[in-house]
Symmetry: C3
Subunit: 187 residues, 3 copies
């Protein structure tokens, strides 16, 4: 029974793909980015004792969770608000060139996955404006892509991808993401 | 007094529409989708007793709500995180071809309306990548549109619309949405 | 030591900007909006006593917060769901021409900043559809820009910017935003 269902699903999926555009060869012909920047952001989660250092905090959790401990299993349902420093290298103590601000939420019981809505906010003499991101983060993969859904200031109306790599992941309280921002629409 | 205010509002709105581009005839000349796919997603809300089957959970609620019961009136203020199976037909037991992951929140006291931020995530040999969605869901209407704000992998840089239909809605604990994804920008 | 770090950061940032496209002169050549509309939205936060008038409610807060009082410092971590009336002028009693629906969250401890995900929803004989927004709101600035990430109905597939101005800000319970929506992609 389950096998039949899977067979039918495979067939339907095959038809689905065929009925969409046939230009599968074109998928690899991606344009070159018109702008590219690599930044790191550093997230220190509030655990009830580190109010001075924390850059993020759990603000919502499922019925079985609380706001100073990440929920089990796999943090499912925890929503975190963050204001993380953005640096040009992977050194937490480097001078920030901007902030990553917004939220992420953990959304799977079986493994670690997250969904992000946030912005890189720049406000220096060299760089002004914001890049706005949204998308799913399949954390257990080496690299994964979010969408750049818009931008303001120096990033007016931009679109593109952000490729995330987990650069460090320590004791549930600190992580560092390398973000390779590739913009394909620039103005 | 209220009548005067309404009259002025109507006049201002008329001016607003006139001052925007006059190409109202063009509104109907929508392009054809470059890709189209129809999927169903199935949401089973955690109610305190169904941890095994639940695919979603209330993680935030207003002061008068809690996390195992939908708030009254009209669930206003409840935020739900979900990891729902995506199927090609409306059978909950069909083999999933992907997951719908993210959140929705109920945002009106008078009737049921919601706001969604989520992704369709594909990770099979046939289909890889994600489609990212955002927008308002006017639940009481037969069909309503969200925005496709970006995509990754096989859906690199896509944009478009997702037309939602409530395919089933049972006892506050299960709903099934039919999602007709029409992509107008493909790469 | 800190000075060296800053120097290196400045140098890296300089290289970063140089390595992106050199068309800095083009930044000022922004296109003209294809459509523009100015609207006001009015937010009255639930405080435990104003259930009749409130248009928004705190639904999540950090460990040190609650749902009827804005958290200190600077409301960091509070998440608010809203269904606010949209008017054509700054009079709260004007007839609404639509609703602003979605959420905002406060995301900085040192000053007031927020992140928004929401829609303008129109459902009149004159105007139908939605405009979907996402982005960072640097509240202490006179004006700041969010992204228009998509639209439906009369705003099919649109993109652009929304320039926010705080038009009123009263006793932590009411604010009014002027939103100048400039659309650069119309269909």
């Amino acid at each position: 029974m389950a096998a039949t269902t899977e067979l039918i699903s495979a067939l339907l999926l095959f038809l689905l793909i065929c009925s969409s555009d046939i230009s599968s060869g074109e998928k690899t012909r991606r344009p070159e980015p018109c702008k590219r920047l690599v930044l790191y952001f550093h997230d220190i989660l509030y655990n009830g004792k580190n109010a001075q250092n924390a850059t993020s905090a759990i603000v919502a959790s499922p019925a079985w969770g609380d706001k100073t401990t990440l929920a089990a299993p796999n943090r499912f349902g925890d929503v975190v608000v963050f204001d993380d420093p953005l640096t040009l290298d992977n050194n937490f103590r480097s001078a920030p060139v901007g902030r990553a601000q917004g939220f992420y939420l953990y959304d799977k019981k079986e493994i670690l996955t997250a969904w992000f809505g946030f912005s890189f906010v720049f406000n220096s003499t060299r760089l002004k404006g914001a890049i706005n991101f949204a998308g799913a983060d399949d954390i257990m993969k080496n690299t994964r892509d979010l969408s750049v859904v818009g931008g303001t200031g120096d990033f007016f109306m931009t679109r593109g991808l952000a490729t995330l790599t987990t650069d460090a992941f320590e004791d549930d309280r600190y992580f560092r993401l390398r973000v390779d921002v590739k913009l394909y629409e620039c103005f």
